[in-house]
């Protein structure tokens, strides 16, 4: 058993036992605080500053070429704790510019009634395609309205810079061909 140390409490003085000095101190504290400026943000008119790493509504983003980055690997769907994400994978047409990416979501729904803004989808995404950005206020008149579909997700997401350009490099390599050919 862990050793416990019993601390002797200092007995209360008479003044302390009347409780009155404490009340006076308390009153002083509240009075001082009362004279301090308020920290209230007048919300709809004034907007908070959204920090860089804020976890707002999850969105889908495009890369600087305008290519949709999501390849519907469904990892986010898998990792999402409340099962808010629902993806129907699809194939990119052979004649498309990005045919070498092969795969893209046909449908991509995030149910904002279920989402808990945990950010795991962003964390898990191998393509850096899903980001929790700065939108923090979502509302709607029906359950359906609260489900963000693919189009809405791209509208919210916009374009973000891409550090890797993995698929651009891949295409360049493919065009160049194998070294021995």
């Amino acid at each position: 058993m862990a050793k416990t140390k019993v601390l002797e409490r200092k007995p209360l003085s008479l003044a302390e036992r009347t409780y009155l000095p404490q009340i006076v101190t308390g009153l002083k504290t509240t009075l001082v605080n009362m004279l301090r400026p308020s920290v209230t943000l007048q919300y709809p008119e004034e907007r908070p500053v959204i920090p860089e790493n804020y976890r707002g509504v999850p969105t889908l983003v495009k890369d600087p070429n305008g290519r949709e980055k999501c390849v519907s690997c469904q990892l986010c769907e898998f990792v999402c704790p409340p099962k808010a994400i629902r993806i129907t994978p699809g194939e990119i047409a052979d004649d498309a510019d990005t045919a070498h990416v092969e795969k893209a979501p046909k449908e991509f729904d995030i149910n904002m009634l279920r989402c808990i803004y945990c950010g795991l989808c962003e964390e898990v995404c191998p393509e850096e395609a899903i980001f929790l950005q700065d939108v923090f206020s979502v509302s709607g008149y029906s359950r359906e309205e609260m489900i963000n579909n693919k189009q809405k997700l791209y509208e919210l997401g916009g374009t973000l810079p891409d550090r890797h350009r993995k698929w651009d490099k891949k295409k360049a390599a493919e065009l160049q061909g194998a070294a021995h050919h």
């Binding site: 009153l27 509240t30 009075l31 004279l35 400026p37 308020s38 920290v39």
Partner: protein, 367 residues
């Protein structure tokens, strides 16, 4: 004209008084919200605007930001909200309870002096609806009726939390009523004393008049303290709001009430605060007297009367602020602490104080 003076004038006075007290009560609610906001670095209500007044260029937004229109909106809400009476309550008592709660609060002000009027001959008259000799007794008697409203509400709601709230409230009332009554006895003993032959008796006007020099709060600090604590307890204000105690009783006695009936309880609480403040000011803070040892600079006639009333109101406002200030400073007592404080501290202290003062007066008289 006789019937006018005899019947209509009192009615007009009474109505005016009710209006004044009720608006003070209403704006105390606003004050409560504002002050609590400030204490917590917030702004409090600052959005409600009246259509026309709110549109006046500088003034409108200013008033709006002060939240001055908020009580109006709150009151209207109470009035027009759907009035639900739960199915399981004892209907008659359930409806009667809020009325019983508010009536004593409004009745007590009948005997409350709120200013002075010095007529041409230099005789000082009190401004009061009914200047009865036993003013304080009347106040004590009537205001303690208010607890019936709460007890009834708790019982008739026929559900657990209100019931507990009602019980706590009655126990608390009984406990603190005693200390309160005993604490002010010395005040009146002294008030009756200074000039032999003074027949002030239990008249509140008399008490104010004695305080032209010493305020009784200085002369009788122990009484003042006990009375202060008891007033907090009697008005069910934090830190003594055992009857409501949201954390453990949801809403206490008014859990089952909504809309207008709840509004009545709400207003009654604040009316009690106003009246309680007024009584404290009258008894211990010199009423409308200017400052200790500084004779009232009020001129004779109407002007002086109005000034005295305003000065009195100012003191009341400060005291209401004090009520609010304490509420947002102190945490709620535990129920057993409330009882201990009432029975084991305040009551013996009040008795001791009484005996001490009696002896003192006896000593003085024999000297």
């Amino acid at each position: 004209m006789d019937w006018f003076t005899a019947y209509m004038l009192p009615v007009i006075y009474a109505v005016t008084m009710i209006v004044v007290v009720m608006s003070i009560a209403g704006y105390s609610v606003l004050a409560e919200r504002k002050v609590s906001g400030w204490i917590q670095h917030r702004t409090g209500p600052n959005r409600t605007a009246l259509p026309i007044i709110g549109a006046i260029p500088v003034l409108g937004p200013f008033l709006t930001r002060l939240g001055l229109f908020q009580p109006l909106a709150d009151g209207l809400k109470f009035l027009f909200k759907e009035d639900i009476t739960p199915g399981h309550v004892r209907r008659g008592y359930f409806i009667a309870a809020p009325i019983i709660a508010i009536v004593p609060a409004l009745t007590t002000m009948v005997v409350l002096p709120f200013g002075q009027y010095t007529d041409a001959e230099g005789v000082v008259h009190p401004l009061v609806l009914a200047n009865i000799d036993i003013g304080i007794l009347f106040i004590l008697a009537v205001s303690s009726l208010g607890v019936y409203g709460i007890v009834l509400a708790g019982w008739s709601a026929n559900s657990k939390y209100p019931f507990l709230g009602g019980i706590r409230s009655s126990a608390q009332m009984v406990s603190y009523e005693l200390a309160m009554g005993l604490s002010i006895l010395p005040v009146f003993m002294w008030a009756a004393v200074p000039e032999p032959g003074n027949l002030n008796g239990l008249s509140l006007f008399g008490v104010v008049q004695v305080q032209q020099g010493f305020w009784l709060a200085m002369w009788q600090p122990v009484s003042a303290l006990i009375f202060l604590v008891a007033v907090f307890a009697e008005t069910n204000r934090l830190p003594f709001d055992m009857a409501e105690s949201e954390t453990d009783l949801v809403g206490g006695f008014h859990t089952e009430y909504g809309s207008f009936k709840f509004g009545l309880f709400f207003v009654a609480e604040y009316a009690h605060i106003v009246i309680g403040s007024a009584v404290f000011v009258v008894l211990f803070l010199g009423g409308w007297n200017f400052l200790p040892f500084i004779p009232a600079p009020w001129p004779d006639g109407m002007v002086g009367a109005v000034m005295s009333v305003l000065w009195f109101l100012l003191k009341i406002f400060f005291f209401i602020f004090f009520f609010i200030w304490v509420r947002w400073t102190l945490p709620r007592f535990r129920y057993d602490q409330v009882m201990t404080l009432g029975w084991k501290v305040l009551l013996p202290l009040a008795v001791a104080n009484l005996i001490f003062n009696t002896l003192l007066i006896a000593l003085r008289d024999t000297l």
